[in-house]
């Protein structure tokens, strides 16, 4: 190649336009290749989809669900229009249900409430994770997760979250709330059916929230 360049230069010096060099200008080709490479790199990187694993309790009519401590229970109701409601404990008297608290999916909303209730376990796991990274960085991800799982099993302080979805809620809300469980490291949660008392509670809460926003 070097020889060809030299030749071209000599010919150019003599100003003989008839003699074209054999050199092909590869710039457009390189441009195109750059574009294609960028395209393929981007598409391959994003085409791998991620999954969120979830396990629902087995549905066996013979096995009774474990007793749920009332003090630890938090009910989260996914409402319409991306709203989230929650109340602690359970409905004892259907005639006077506990007030629903409205919140949202931001980190100051439902996450704050959940973290507050799951403080003990969350701190423990976070501390363990940090310690492992500092002292034993070679530990594989799987064994780290296995260790965390052991913590989770022993835990008896965290909340028991019952997720109930109102009929107008969207799939994204369901995924968001399960994701929130993972973020806050809440172990005990279940997706359960909403009952009619809670449906009425959502209706009244929705009516109240539209009333309160209208005058503004």
């Amino acid at each position: 190649m070097g020889e060809i360049i030299q030749e071209e230069k000599q010919k150019g010096g003599k100003k003989r336009p008839k003699h074209h060099s054999t050199h092909i200008d590869m710039t457009p080709m390189v441009d195109l290749m750059c574009l294609l490479i960028t395209f393929f790199m981007l598409t391959t990187a994003f085409s791998k989809s991620k999954v969120m694993e979830i396990a629902l309790p087995e549905r066996d009519p013979k096995v009774k669900p474990p007793p749920v401590s009332k003090a630890r229970t938090v009910n989260i109701i996914l409402g319409p229009e991306n709203k989230v409601f929650w109340y602690p404990g359970m409905v004892e008297n259907p005639k006077s249900p506990p007030p629903l608290q409205e919140t949202n999916f931001s980190d100051q909303g439902i996450r704050k409430m959940l973290l507050e209730r799951n403080k003990f376990l969350f701190k423990k796991v976070a501390a363990f994770r940090e310690k492992t990274i500092k002292e034993n960085p070679t530990m594989s991800r799987d064994s780290l997760l296995a260790n965390i799982k052991r913590f989770n099993k022993l835990d008896d302080s965290g909340p028991i979250v019952l997720i109930k979805a109102y009929k107008d809620s969207r799939y994204a809300n369901v995924v968001d709330i399960i994701d929130e469980m993972a973020i806050c490291n809440i172990i005990r949660y279940a997706i359960v059916d909403i009952n009619y008392v809670e449906e009425d509670m959502v209706k009244t809460a929705m009516a109240a929230s539209t009333k309160s926003t209208k005058p503004q």
Binding site: C34, F40, K48, K50, E58, R59, A165, Y171, V174, D179
Partner: protein, 212 residues
């Protein structure tokens, strides 16, 4: 004298090695990339913090579109010896007293994307090559009513043919909850209690500070 001529050398750069390298990279990427299969309905998956990658083989995916339609896909990666997909179709045909020729089964196995149509229309679906015609066949998705719950049967046969199959749910952000619940119920009825929700990765900042 050559020393003086040196700076006036032509600014031409020899790009051949660069082109060589690019060709290699491009060929590699083209060969390894897996083209995203067009889905019968557009599905925007929600975000989550999970960074677990989806399994590559032995999966069945239930797709939920935003207008409450259900689609189904069986994927066995590079299914070579074990004709997972075709066997399920044959089983399904037996149940509905339909026979699929080996040719039809082969074509069904080669169909890469998910499908959403009642089994009664499967002959037409396999025959056609036209994307538009396929779309019209799939307007209603797979029946999930209690009178004709074909999704449940697909799941049942998928698990019978390949017990190692993992269930995935790929739902649209706006899929209404009743259809989500219906699909979850069907999965649980068929004793599938552990499954994967397909999501996009979203990085969330660590929340240790907020709880102090």
């Amino acid at each position: 004298m050559p020393k003086i001529k040196l700076p006036t050398k032509s600014p031409h750069i020899d790009m051949t090695p660069m082109v060589d390298l690019f060709s290699v990279v491009l060929t590699f990427l083209m060969l390894t990339t897996t083209m995203r299969q067009p889905e019968p309905a557009p599905i925007d998956t929600p975000f989550s913090i999970s960074d677990k990658t989806a399994p590559e083989a032995n999966i069945m995916t239930v797709l939920l579109s935003k207008d409450s339609k259900v689609f189904f896909n069986i994927d066995n990666g590079k299914d070579t010896a074990f004709h997972f997909k075709g066997k399920i179709l044959t089983e399904m045909g037996k149940r509905y007293e339909m026979t699929f020729t080996p040719e039809e089964v082969k074509q069904f196995e080669a169909y890469p994307s998910s499908f959403g149509l009642p089994i009664q229309k499967m002959h037409e679906f396999i025959k056609t090559k036209d994307a538009k015609e396929r779309a019209t066949l799939q307007v209603n998705g797979i029946p999930v009513d209690s009178t004709d719950n074909q999704l449940a049967l697909w799941i049942l046969f998928a698990r019978q043919v390949n017990p190692a199959v993992q269930a995935c749910i790929k739902g649209d952000n706006d899929a209404p909850y009743p259809i989500v619940k219906k699909v979850l119920d069907i999965l649980q009825d068929k004793n599938v209690n552990r499954f994967n929700l397909i999501t996009n990765l979203e990085v969330t900042k660590v929340t240790t500070q907020s709880e102090q």
